[in-house]
């Protein structure tokens, strides 16, 4: 089982969290640290880039919910890019797509932050 790495790129008021590997309960620290880094850099929008993600289980979905709550509390916006059809369906099944804005491309997500 591979772990999770999350790189943070800051572009203006948006931070892109590039997720690689697996998103499971073991990813809590990596995601939390990346979010803290993005927030301390002043990001108003958090874009989760799933294009490098190999797998996400139900505990991983739970982590997205807790991140979403932190984002909402901080008055930020949460977006997702790089989701394949399977994970789009999972966000639909869990109704997370009602709260996380899904975009096809990074450019579209960044345009939506403006």
């Amino acid at each position: 089982m591979s772990g999770t790495t999350v790189d943070v790129d800051t572009l203006g008021s948006a931070a892109i969290l590039r997720i690689r590997g697996e998103v499971t309960s073991a990813s809590e620290a990596a995601l939390g640290e990346a979010y803290a880094k993005a927030t301390s850099a002043g990001a108003r929008s958090i874009v989760l880039d799933f294009s490098g993600m190999e797998y996400m289980n139900s505990s991983g979905i739970g982590l997205l919910v807790t991140m979403l709550i932190r984002v909402q509390r901080a008055g930020q916006k949460l977006m997702a890019i790089g989701l394949n059809e399977h994970y789009r369906q999972i966000l639909s099944l869990t109704r997370l797509d009602e709260a996380i804005h899904i975009h096809d491309t990074e450019a579209a997500a960044l345009a939506a932050t403006a």
Binding site: S59, T66, I69, Q89, L93, R95, E98
Partner: protein, 275 residues
Amino acid sequence: MMATMRQETETDEQRAAEATPEASPASRLRTSRDEAWAKPVDRVSVTAAAERAPADTVQGRKLSGPLQGFGRMWQKTFRVPLYGATLSPREVIAIWKAEFPAFWPKSAKFYAPLAGIAPGEVALLELKPLPGAPIKLSTGVMVIYADDESFTFMTPEGHTLSAWITFSAFEENGVTVAQAQALERPSDPLDELAYMLGGSKMNDRFWEQTLANLATRLGAGGVPVETQRVCIDKRRQWRQVGNLRHSASIDTMKRTATAPIRAMRRAVKRASDRR
């Protein structure tokens, strides 16, 4: 260097896929993991699975997770280290799935789907909404995820909690640990009130008892269950106040209150049919 190595790996996989009609190990792993998730559904559909219990508070309802609930959001974790048991996490999950209803406290019933705990299956439940409540609430859950090491239920609209609960087993310091972790919000204002008036504690005791029963079954009885409660979101979602219209508690109360009238009508009809 890393990028080059990854590219080479992918190329090898692609070559293998082209050379043989069978899928590569990586794609097989991806497929089997993908199959752990249920397919998206617009509405919950109760199959023959649980015809033994009332399904009208579940059939045709949408799924409702912690984002769709009304009350404060809580993450509750119940765990028991299985000291003395020599089972792997996979063996624990296999037993937990196969015998799930047997571990529930006697105050509640879990009508398992005939196909077992598998992605997309729906189970029906009967539970007390509050300690000492004279009625039992009929509701259900859908299995949204199930693999060899964990499985997750999501509630339908009308359930007292808008929630996911994940049951898992893992190894920690050489000991297999069984865990239930819920992410939940009471679904509507009445549910939030009931939750504050004892429903939450009753819920905690329910899962503590369930894990204690599981530990006993696995040969690790007597080990205390550890409980952790974290308030994830203190805010109530007033925009979800309309969830009241789906309330299984209200439906069950209405059905219970009108049962004598319905019974009387049936008796009158039978009598007039005989004449």
